[in-house]
Symmetry: C2
Subunit: 350 residues, 2 copies
DNA sequence: ATACTTTTTGAAAGCGCTTTCAGAAAACGT
DNA sequence: ACGTTTTCTGAAAGCGCTTTCAAAAAGTAT
């Protein structure tokens, strides 16, 4: 193993050039493949790079080329069952496209008002409302590549969006409750104020009701905040108020757990007395008893697709204004269906 | 709102200097607070920066200062219940310390053998064995700040490590099984080959047996790969082989699910006939029936602490060679204890 | 006032790479 | 062989910022 002089600084492109007896420009060219270089020289350069263990200084390339080769993910908080698969998809997408991923949390901005990395990235993925409208406008005005995740653009800004078919998924779910199980008094638990996914799910809920001529009852709408305890409390309140219901669409799976707990507490049976369904299909949904009927969103694909759209933007191409990833009904037991393989994941037999 | 000439490129420090009628150096100084600057000039500069919406070019600072203000997280794959909280901790730690986070996946290296970001980060967090020993040696030799996560250094390299007390946690768990529930035939399900966490958990398992003079039986050791289906198969095999056992320490929670399924399939009762315990305390552990007794590792804290150690290294200070985060026994039902509040999370009453 | 500190400031030299630009070399045509 | 076109190549000019360095300004002590 080649030991390098401990005092010496890491090799630069100039060292490589000297070592390979070519010009700096030539080294740069074999590094980037921008211009053909004679075979023999290419080899010499490659060899030199290996021997010197040369690693190009990212900052220098960025400064000179104005391309960072990095995409930024802006988000307000890392949490929820939702986040990991999305990140996984984004990471995979970035990797595929040859970009690095810079994570920028906007939650309670640190000591130094560190500026958003516009110049430090080639494009930005913005999750939900992690960035305020002012910044969004500014970036949009300067024509900076941006893709929104799970958030439609404010003020009719023309920014591409990637999200899931919340409305259709919710409608499928509620239709199932109505058509297959004959439920008509369906509670809906809203997510956090302003949460777009929740808004669309509610819309799907309403459409399903309408489609079956079931009147919308405001007293069956409550707030679950996509949170277990909040949902628990909300369902308890509805029970206390004496509003009858035979099903709960909990808004998301976390809320569904809370709802189930609240219902069980009263001695009611799930799904006999009350059907409970969620949304998201988080990993533990199948382990609940009864196993939770819900809607699966291809979250990982959302992340991957968002990167793809962003890549198009960064290449100067047009991106799709709205990408809606299809959702899928996951029937288990909590709706009243009977699963043959209780608590057994589908993949079991593989 | 100040509209800028659309043709104009983003403002540079020179523009700010001109605008504020000071030198470039002065602008840099108020930007970094490196040297005191007259109050009045400071104000002028600040104003100019605001008006021009100046955002310093990251690359330029890095190139000039040799500090990237970024730490890199190197990992081979984003997955597992394990990952999200760890990332959350790391992100939080990085944010606190004023660093950005660059995620670098080494899984199936992309098209261009993109070099690891040594020069693009001030320090690296290396998760499990996402980086091969050669690179590790090289980085170590050049005295580059590195902290290992859940992996002790190979070849007695002197690199700081942050991980959890797997051995103690496992021992506590097995002790509980033995002392409280009188189990003596305890199956252990190993994790993936070479997985350090698994090795230590097994060691804890062995120590607990020894401490109670229970002979170690090789036929009670099997492989669960920290995977539900694999664990299912392994337990089935042990059952088929007719090796009697009255408890399963599943290695991790995922395996525990598989183990529970396999045991239930035979009609045996949990925990009556067989106690099952896991490790990790993933979110759904409490929702299983019976609720899973397991060990909670402060994963998020691991991430945060790792960043802290790395920060010390980057500041030229010494880091702690080994940081073991304490684990905690989480007693639920699957070990044979009876929980008063079945399936009800502790926080319920808040 | 004068000499000597101490505090602020600006000029200018890089940081390591990409990218014109124009010249050199090679390839081609006749 | 010579003029042209096509390929390759090197010199040099930045990219936007930090950081000496030394001079200028302001403050203190004599």
């Amino acid at each position: 193993m080649l030991l390098m002089n401990p005092k010496s600084r890491p090799p630069t492109i100039a060292d490589v050039a000297r070592h390979a007896e070519v010009s700096i420009a030539t080294v740069s060219r074999v590094l980037n493949g921008t211009t053909p270089v004679q075979r023999e020289k290419t080899d010499r350069v490659r060899l030199a790079m290996d021997e010197l263990q040369f690693v190009p200084r990212h900052a220098a390339r960025v400064l000179a080329s104005k391309r960072t080769n990095t995409i930024g993910l802006v988000l307000s908080e890392i949490s929820g069952a939702f986040f990991p698969p999305m990140l996984k998809g984004i990471e995979a997408g970035a990797h595929e496209a040859g970009y690095d991923l810079l994570i920028h949390s906007t939650k309670k901005e640190g000591p130094s008002r560190r500026p958003l990395g516009e110049h430090n990235t080639d494009g930005l993925l913005i999750f939900t409302d992690s960035l305020d409208h002012r910044d969004l406008h500014r970036l949009h005005n300067m024509n900076f590549p941006i893709v929104l995740l799970h958030q439609t653009p404010p003020d009719s800004l023309n920014l591409p969006v990637v999200t899931v078919e919340n409305k259709d998924g919710a409608a499928m779910l509620v239709n199932h409750l109505i058509e297959v199980h004959g439920r008509h008094q369906i509670v809906f638990l809203r997510g956090p104020e302003g949460h777009e996914d929740s808004v669309w799910r509610e819309r799907g809920y309403c459409e399903a009701l309408e489609a079956h001529n079931i009147p919308f009852k405001p007293e069956l709408i409550a707030t679950g905040l996509f949170d277990e305890d909040e949902a628990f409390a909300s369902i308890q309140k509805i029970l206390l108020d004496g509003n009858p219901f035979d099903a709960v669409f909990a808004g998301d799976d976390d809320s569904a757990i809370g709802a189930m707990r609240a219902i069980k507490t009263t001695g009611r049976l799930i799904p006999g007395d009350v059907a409970v369904v969620g949304f998201d299909d988080v990993p533990f949904a199948r382990y609940l008893s009864p196993a939770l009927t819900t809607v699966r969103a291809p979250i990982e694909e959302v992340g991957r697709e968002a990167v793809r759209q962003l890549a198009r933007l960064m290449n100067g191409e047009q991106a799709q204004a709205l990408t809606l990833m299809r959702t899928e009904l996951v029937i288990r037991e909590s709706c009243g269906c009977t699963s043959l393989s209780t608590n057994v994941p589908e993949e079991m037999g593989r």
